[in-house]
């Protein structure tokens, strides 16, 4: 599959700082380093999973790629074009987003039909009866029926609303979708349905996903590659199989050890790595390696020098002094 190896999206040194604590004159003296020097790429038709704990910058990364936040520095390259400063309107048709909270992401005053029809209205796509047909088709594509078009979001369950959100994203026939924790607000039984549906849609429409989540087993299921973030930094990136079988970074190891095993006797044998302390503030992150304050293997070097994000084996990147030697 030659087409599969084509990069659809590449992010180079993406950085996003948010100013905090403005003084009287509106100038800010400190920054939240939400995303700091993150680089990765996604091949066409693939899924990159992005994991990490709350507040590590996963969502900001996703939204900055779509230019919902303006990047502080770095480049975003989509289909070979640098879109860091481009006019986004035509690109909105190619890049879409699915939100985490299906209760907040649909306008309560619009019918489902209007919500799904809105992207077509904005981009002047289908008109009149054609638009109506397209809305019905999209509803059926996500497992709802056409009667639902005249209803309001509050009449639906969480899973159904998430389907509406997906239909809205698909209305412009995008190529790349940022799935911003699309399943974390749903019941476990519904999560599987939505993930399977996303996979089916990927296969039939040739979509590329950036799948942001904190459920590691779900990410393993859907992703081709997985990136692990900690405090605004990408610390490990590898093929899905590789990262789950041979995690290199101590943080990744700790994360993976937290996945429950559905077998009590196996589970008892497993040693769980428990991280001490809290995530440091992203306003004033630790010097050197950002993970050093909670790392079991922390050395003097970690404090002085920031580890490089290096390729340790083919396609496996990691930022840690332990593995780079």
């Amino acid at each position: 599959m030659a087409a599969k190896d084509k990069k659809i999206l590449e992010v180079k040194n993406l950085t996003k700082f948010f100013p905090v604590k403005k003084d009287f004159f509106g100038t800010s003296h400190s920054m939240v380093k939400a995303v700091d020097n993150v680089s990765f790429y996604i091949n066409k038709g693939e899924t990159l999973g992005l994991v990490g704990e709350s507040g590590c910058g996963k969502t900001t990364t996703g939204r900055t790629i779509l230019r919902l936040h303006e990047p502080t520095a770095g480049e975003i390259i989509f289909e070979g074009n640098n879109i860091t400063e481009a006019d986004m309107k035509p690109l909105r048709k190619k890049m879409q987003i699915i939100f985490q909270d299906p209760y907040a992401s649909l306008n309560p005053r619009m019918t489902v039909g209007d919500i799904i029809g809105e992207p077509m209205e904005i981009h002047d796509l289908e008109k009149g009866s054609q638009r109506k047909d397209k809305i019905y088709q999209l509803l059926e594509m996500v497992g709802l029926n056409r009667e639902h078009a005249s209803r309001y979001p509050h009449e639906f369950s969480g899973g159904q609303r998430q389907r509406v959100g997906i239909a809205r994203a698909l209305a412009v026939k995008p190529e790349f979708i940022v799935c911003d924790e699309p399943i974390s607000a749903l019941d476990v039984s519904i999560q599987a349905q939505i993930v399977n549906m996303l996979e089916d849609l990927q296969a039939s429409l040739g979509l590329t996903y950036l799948f942001i989540a904190h459920d590691l087993s779900m990410v393993k299921h859907i992703s081709d590659k997985v990136g692990v973030m900690y405090l605004g930094k990408l610390i490990e990136l590898a093929d899905s199989e590789e990262i789950y079988s041979k995690p290199a970074h101590p943080y990744t190891q700790a994360l993976l050890s937290s996945i429950p095993i559905a077998d009590p006797s196996e589970s008892r044998k497993k040693k769980r790595i428990i991280l001490e302390g809290d995530v440091p503030s992203p306003i004033n992150p630790p010097s050197g390696c950002r993970f050093r304050t909670r790392c079991r293997y922390s050395m003097k070097k970690c404090e002085e020098l920031e580890p490089e994000f290096k390729e340790i084996s083919i396609g496996h990147f990691c930022a840690c002094h332990l593995v780079s030697e």
Binding site: G26, R63, L68, A104, N107, M110, E118, N145, E155, V172
Partner: protein
Amino acid sequence: MEISTELFKPLNKRTPAREEAVRPSLTYWKDAWKRLKKNKVAMICLMAITLIFLAAIIGPYLIPYSYSEQIRGEEDLAPCREHLFGTDGLGRDMLARVLFGMRISLSVGIVASIINLTIGVVYGGISGYFGGKMDNLMMRLVDIIDSIPTTLYVILLMVVFKNPEVNIFELPVLSLFKGLGASLISIYVALGTTYWITMARIVRGEVLSLKEREYVTAAKALGASNMRVLFKHLIPNCIGTIIVITMLQIPTAIFVESFLSFLGLGVDVPMASLGSLAADALGGIRSYFYLLAFPSLAICVIMLTFNLFGDGLRNALDPRMRK
């Protein structure tokens, strides 16, 4: 209790497995109407408001006298069959004058609500949505306007409008309203400059919080323009508040007009407004009590019904605001 097996029936296989939503769709408005109907006070007020409007619009055509007509020999009559509300010292029918006064009062209410709905909503929406420096600037302007009392505006405007050297009715738009007289125009203009600030502040506050919602981010991600986000997503979501504020601002505006007319700043003679009627009647309060009673009663009823209805509407449209 035992359930015998005969009671069980085989399930029709063709019944779709997927649950069908059969309940009729309940829109926001239907839901609000249902809640409003339960509120007896609000429903009585709604009927009263309808009657007041009908009386003010059609009423004057149903009685044989006009508000300015003087009937010789029928001065200072107490309420009787020919003149239900009596007549004043110049022989004018009080019922006709009260109905006309209600017209003026309601027209002031309507002008105030139009100003609220246009300037107030748009100004507040833009200020809240764009935020930052623009918001700061726009809100400081509102503060300045708010700091000058309405009475002062009206007096100053009247000085300008009534100056014979400045004929305001020569201006293209205002020439249409020549019949209203300079005093009423200055009340409208004064309301126009001040009456939208409450609405602007409240809409700004609502928009400020609504714009952080995810559906707004979703609209932006779809490529919606700022104007589209503001008018399609944000303002429709504060429509409940907007309606309630408008409803509560109408009686305030009516009261301001009555109060100004009472002080002698209102309509020009021979026009009548509820406030000027009350002021005229004040001198004869011991002998001709009814001349004061009817216009005052009309003001009270209008104020009360609008306020109570506005309150009921708030409970119906936004159940969270209920006290």
